[in-house]
């Protein structure tokens, strides 16, 4: 159960990372920082009072979307066609900047919040009590996965998102405003990270340090699940979430090692990820 709940927040985090890398080709080291930022937004809005959770959750997500759009316009745009090390340096710089700005704005102490309304009582699974919000979180992540899949595969704009990952110059020649599309995709990815951070707040206390842990876990999830595959990311998140949860129970010192072993195994035997597709042959 604990594993599933952390899988849910890992999924929200990783799916945005995968979306951004797939479309813009940018490895966003600051992705975990936006996860933290979403949590901070919600904490600041509710003033740490769980009563305002549902009310302010959409506001925190909207704020993350706006931050994503602004960051893309101001920073990402400038390095899109540059060599990779510029992009890595920039997103790493963003990570540091967001960390410091968060410290100034929100303080360096741990933030957390009580269980949101409707989920105050525990549920019993096999006689063991778990916070019922675990189920709420899993539901939210599943709904997000489904909506995202519908968007990508059943709407025209979603088709453009998939197309731009394959050939941005051609898409532009067909009349698609690719710079605008990039802003939308980046904002969406950051919005998902912020959503993940915000909904994790009742389960996990947030401080500026979570950004790095979060982005590393998200990378592992994406690598394991397969880049650009929503269901792969979901599977990766569940595997990593469960491995970390069970690892922490059985061999706490090695719980991190288990995830790396899984990642290494996947890289060796299925380098495109469990549910990723090997690149299509082009004739």
């Amino acid at each position: 159960m604990t594993g599933l709940a952390s899988a849910a927040s890992l999924f929200l985090l990783a799916v945005g990372l995968s979306l951004i890398f797939g479309a813009l080709g940018i490895v966003n080291f600051a992705h975990g920082s936006f996860f933290a930022l979403g949590a901070y937004f919600l904490f600041a809005l509710t003033r740490g009072d769980a009563a305002g959770f549902w009310h302010y959750l959409p506001v925190a997500v909207a704020a993350s979307l706006v931050v994503g759009a602004v960051v893309e316009r101001v920073f990402m745009r400038r390095v899109l066609n540059r060599a990779e090390h510029y992009q890595i340096l920039l997103t790493y710089a963003l990570l540091l900047i967001i960390e410091d700005v968060s410290k100034i704005c929100f303080g360096a102490d741990y933030k957390s919040i009580g269980m949101p309304k409707g989920f105050e009582m525990p549920v019993f699974v096999l006689g063991i009590p778990f916070p019922s919000y675990y189920l709420g979180l899993v539901g939210l992540a599943a709904a997000a996965a489904l909506l995202l899949w519908l968007f990508l595969h059943r709407t025209r704009y979603g088709t453009l998102v998939r197309a731009v990952a394959q050939d941005r110059e051609m898409l532009e020649a067909l009349g698609v405003n690719v710079p605008l599309l990039f802003t939308v995709i980046f904002a969406l990815g950051i919005g998902l990270a912020g959503f993940g951070g915000a909904v994790s707040l009742p389960l996990q206390s947030i401080s500026t340090g979570v950004a790095v842990d979060a982005v590393i876990s998200a990378f592992i999830v994406v690598v394991v699940g397969g880049l650009g595959s929503i269901w792969g990311t979901l599977l990766g998140a569940i595997l990593i979430g469960e491995i970390q949860a069970f690892g922490a129970l059985v061999l706490p010192e090695f719980s991190i090692a288990f995830t790396y072993v899984l990642m290494a195994a996947v890289l060796l035997f299925r380098p495109w990820g469990l549910l990723g597709r090997p690149p299509a042959v082009r004739t």
Partner: protein, 234 residues
């Protein structure tokens, strides 16, 4: 009024200039061939017209409007269509999705191409509409690339060596498609090396060598000249 005009165009890659002082026009409903052997600068010219290659001087006019500094996607929205020589279908998208991507929202110009009309013209394409682009044969990909650009209802179509490496069957299909476009009033600028292919299609011809214009004239006049064959190294 010409649909497309290049005026004294100089274009290239970084510091390298590939096309020198090139001027050409494509009139309404005209099929104009841009001939030249490998490396003559045909692709560079087409890409420069669309803003995909840097223009260092000269102008690109679309329907007398200066579009030299306009973003590629805006030129496409105005009515310029481009079919690249390297068949850049989206390999992970299905045939149908490849077509849908090219539908232009909020663009008023149009010859009314829809996927239904495309499928009428190419019934075999409808049968494979659920197949992913990466799994089509070279000829099928070439036809899909042209069909995809048609979905955007271009008023002028820049077509880059559409018959390169195609089996005779597909060369005939491409030829029929160009005729169909011409009869629907679309102007076409067709980069080619294949003289036999363009002879029945083109109204006028420009011949490039090393990025410079060597010859121009009507197809009928050009077909006579040995010089053209020499420039194409035939």
């Amino acid at each position: 009024m010409s649909m497309l005009a290049l005026e004294q165009l100089v274009a290239g890659y970084g510091p390298i200039r590939v096309v020198h002082n090139l001027s050409l026009t494509v009139g309404e409903g005209e099929v104009v061939a841009l001939l030249g052997r490998n490396g003559a600068g045909k692709t560079t010219t087409l890409k420069a017209a669309l803003g995909m290659v840097r223009v260092s001087s000269g102008r690109v006019l679309y329907r007398s409007r200066d579009v030299t500094r306009l973003a590629t996607h805006r030129r496409a929205m105005l009515g310029m269509g481009y079919v690249p020589d390297d068949r850049r279908i989206f390999p992970e998208l299905t045939v149908r999705e490849n077509l849908e991507v090219a539908i232009k929202r909020g663009s008023k110009n149009g010859r009314g191409w829809t996927s239904e009309r495309i499928y009428q013209l190419m019934p075999w394409l409808k049968e494979i509409q659920r197949r992913r682009g990466g799994f089509l044969s070279g000829g099928e990909q070439q036809m899909l690339t042209i069909a995809r650009t048609m979905m955007g209802n271009p008023e002028v179509l820049l077509l880059d060596e559409p018959t390169e490496g195609l089996a005779p069957h597909f060369v005939r299909l491409v030829s029929d498609l160009v005729k169909e476009l011409k009869s629907s009033g679309t102007a076409v600028l067709l980069a080619e090396q294949n003289l036999r292919f363009i002879t029945p299609l083109a109204d006028r011809v420009y011949v490039l060598e090393s990025g410079e214009l060597r010859l121009e004239g009507t197809m009928a006049a050009m077909a006579e000249k040995q010089e053209v064959r020499a420039l194409l190294a035939l």
